[in-house]
Symmetry: C2
Subunit: 206 residues, 2 copies
Amino acid sequence: MVKKSEGDLSSTENRILDAAKKVFIAKGFNGTSMQQIATEAGIHKSLLHYYFRSKDKLFTAVFVYAFQHFVPQIQEILISDASVSLKIERIINEYMDMLMQNEFIPSFILHEINRDPDRLYEIMLHTGINPSIFLDQFTIERTKGNMRQVDPRHLLVNILSLCIFPIAARPLIQRVFFSNDNLAYNNFLRERKSVVTKFIIQSIQV
Amino acid sequence: MVKKSEGDLSSTENRILDAAKKVFIAKGFNGTSMQQIATEAGIHKSLLHYYFRSKDKLFTAVFVYAFQHFVPQIQEILISDASVSLKIERIINEYMDMLMQNEFIPSFILHEINRDPDRLYEIMLHTGINPSIFLDQFTIERTKGNMRQVDPRHLLVNILSLCIFPIAARPLIQRVFFSNDNLAYNNFLRERKSVVTKFIIQSIQV
DNA sequence: GTCTATATCGGGATAGAC
DNA sequence: GTCTATCCCGATATAGAC
């Protein structure tokens, strides 16, 4: 759905991209050297330039990938004819699942959008993300009387905050409140799927 | 309260620290060079090493400073005898005010705690932050019957999420939903102080 | 305390052999 | 396509003059 002409990519190019994703997302642009990516991919440094010309070009490819996993893809859910509360439940569940499977992406994106905010315009064209669909959809539900009068921008920011922050701040929260126990924090995050859902739904109930 | 023997610091050392705070917090450890800090401070590069021995030592000083502005200082509020809802209102208002006045600290901390999580133990000794006070306080209120039975860890993470994320993700949210209008987003953040407060209080009301 | 000069290393990038 | 060799630059850090 998101890909474009990936069938004819050489195996080397794919290995470079996979390695670049791993290292860039873990260490950021400035924290990553071309040598680290080459080592991770098991090939020589100069091949990175052969396939991607520059560090910046390679990074942009990774950023586009990560961005698509950071901005929730919820169009299908929103335009379905389910109830508002069911939609919210599905959005939160699916989004938190994706974030838990890509746990380094939130802090990566948060860092990079502050480091180079102007890149966003160009990237968002690549992704085809259209945020107004969310706002429109909630305006519709509101006129139907299914929801309290809530500013949809606050509502959306609330949902994103509650889903993303606990992943981005994991190293801190897990150490302070969970004795740095990985399994315990995974359970906490799973619990949160229903906690956050109830929290949000309650805030828009009439 | 937080300082330790700052009266006898030479003016140069203070200028270096101020410059280091500005540059490190804006660009992170790997994005910052010693030359940038020296230029910002208006002194020569080698003086940085004279006063702080290494880049890492200088960075640690900055990180401690930033960390104290990231973890809310709410002991006085919590141990006061105000009502729960008043406490929450004060916590959220004062904390969001501080974050708005230090808007680059959230993404800085979120990045650095993922880059080097093990530094946290050492830093937290410097700051003397004791998170258990929060949990204890809310357990007490709960037994008084003033609150719904809510896991205080989820409650705290909810509050932090709703306060911190809108600052950390500002470059993205402001562009997407506010046409990159600074004043409009400042208003949005001010609105959030009461929005978040109501949101939280409603979630714990019996 | 503050500067100049320099040591040493690793970074991104390119040319060219195979 | 893949490698070796190399260029050039900027990075942290230190030695030593003033």
